[in-house]
Subunit: 223 residues, 2 copies
């Protein structure tokens, strides 16, 4: 079976000959990914302080000290997970917007973004959740760098809202920043209560969009 050289799937293949760009002697990048996956799951569930390097190591099938062959510190592991968490959601929203129907109006774009953000938060899962759950308890130095990454994603939303504002789709007595914080609030708060058996993230996104943009109150009847 091994003679044909095709026995491994593309997912797990390793270079059989040293490649000029990725030398085969180097430690497999897979291990690094396994560490990050385990760390993301644990950080999401237990928080920053309660996640020990021994927990991460044993979940990856190695000993605590060995983690330092791949990362310089616990902080570096956590920061890597959280940055990826932000970028995963950001990329998911960007991708959903790129696939939107032509000539969609600014409000439709926001609905697409809301649904994509919620979907990524609950399906991609651990990385994005770890970012939101651990942000407050991470050392200040990391927090400051994370803020810059978050700010890029905030800018995406400000742009979406501003396009709706410019197009005249938003009510004049609604504050744009309050609206953005409100959107982040309803979306990210789902991490506190939404369980696997509950409503689907996509349906929830549609409902939240409807409430925040059309309002929960019954519209006044035309008379």
């Amino acid at each position: 079976m091994r003679a044909d050289g095709q026995h491994k799937s593309a997912m797990t293949r390793r270079a059989s000959r040293p490649s000029p760009v990725a030398p085969a002697k180097a430690p497999p990048d897979d291990t690094r990914r396994q560490i990050l996956n385990a760390a993301a799951k644990l950080l999401r569930r237990n928080g920053y302080a309660s996640t020990s390097l021994r927990d991460i190591a044993s979940a990856t099938g190695m000993k605590a000290g060995s983690l330092y062959y791949h990362f310089a510190s616990k902080e570096e592991i956590a920061e890597t997970v959280m940055v990826e968490g932000i970028d995963l959601v950001r990329a998911a929203v960007k991708k959903a917007l790129a696939a939107r129907p032509k000539h969609s109006d600014p409000l439709e774009d926001i609905e697409i973004a809301v649904r994509a953000h919620l979907h990524a938060l609950h399906e991609s899962g651990d990385y994005a959740s770890a970012n939101i759950r651990c942000f407050n308890h991470v050392p200040d130095e990391i927090k400051q760098r994370l803020r810059k990454v978050r700010e890029r994603y905030n800018a995406d939303w400000r742009k979406l809202i501003n396009q709706a504002r410019t197009a005249g789709c938003l009510d004049t007595d609604v504050d744009d920043e309050a609206l953005r914080y409100g959107l982040f609030g309803v979306m990210n708060w789902t991490l506190e209560w939404l369980r696997p058996g509950g409503p689907l993230p996509d349906d929830l996104g549609a409902m939240f969009f409807r409430i925040l943009f059309r309002g929960a109150a019954r519209p006044p009847t035309r008379d």
Copy 2:
């Protein structure tokens, strides 16, 4: 000055003679309160795992071991703080609703509740914030008991929303639980971003109520 027996304010007075209901020989309840105040502040800022008994003790001017004269464990201190955090907000909302204008409609009641909740969260401060910030990282046994206390507060909001529903004030295609989670989301998420220099909690409450019930989109013009 001490001869008149009136030198202490009512806030800090102690029983000068043993009272049948609260014997004077007992340790002062003030100390217990000071411990809880310090714990609430630290739990809010640093989270459950990163708040040590030594931190709480030194903030109260005592040694770590002495805390066990007032509480049985770190868990008991945290649980006490968090239960009070829920009850403080709940009481603030109840009080605000009790003082509402006569014949206010159900939507006005909800706006009052939103503003009271936000006000309590950011002015009463540490206890309520500690509850929200630490809930996920507290031992399961405590979490289960806290859920029951939270459930009482949830019931208050379900009642408010249900009254609006029954009165026909809410749109038929809005889900009541989604609306409640949305309200909690926008309100509690303010802990993640609202800083002392920012908008006043009351103004923010009015804005959030406006967005969630009237909608951020410009209403269709009547033609």
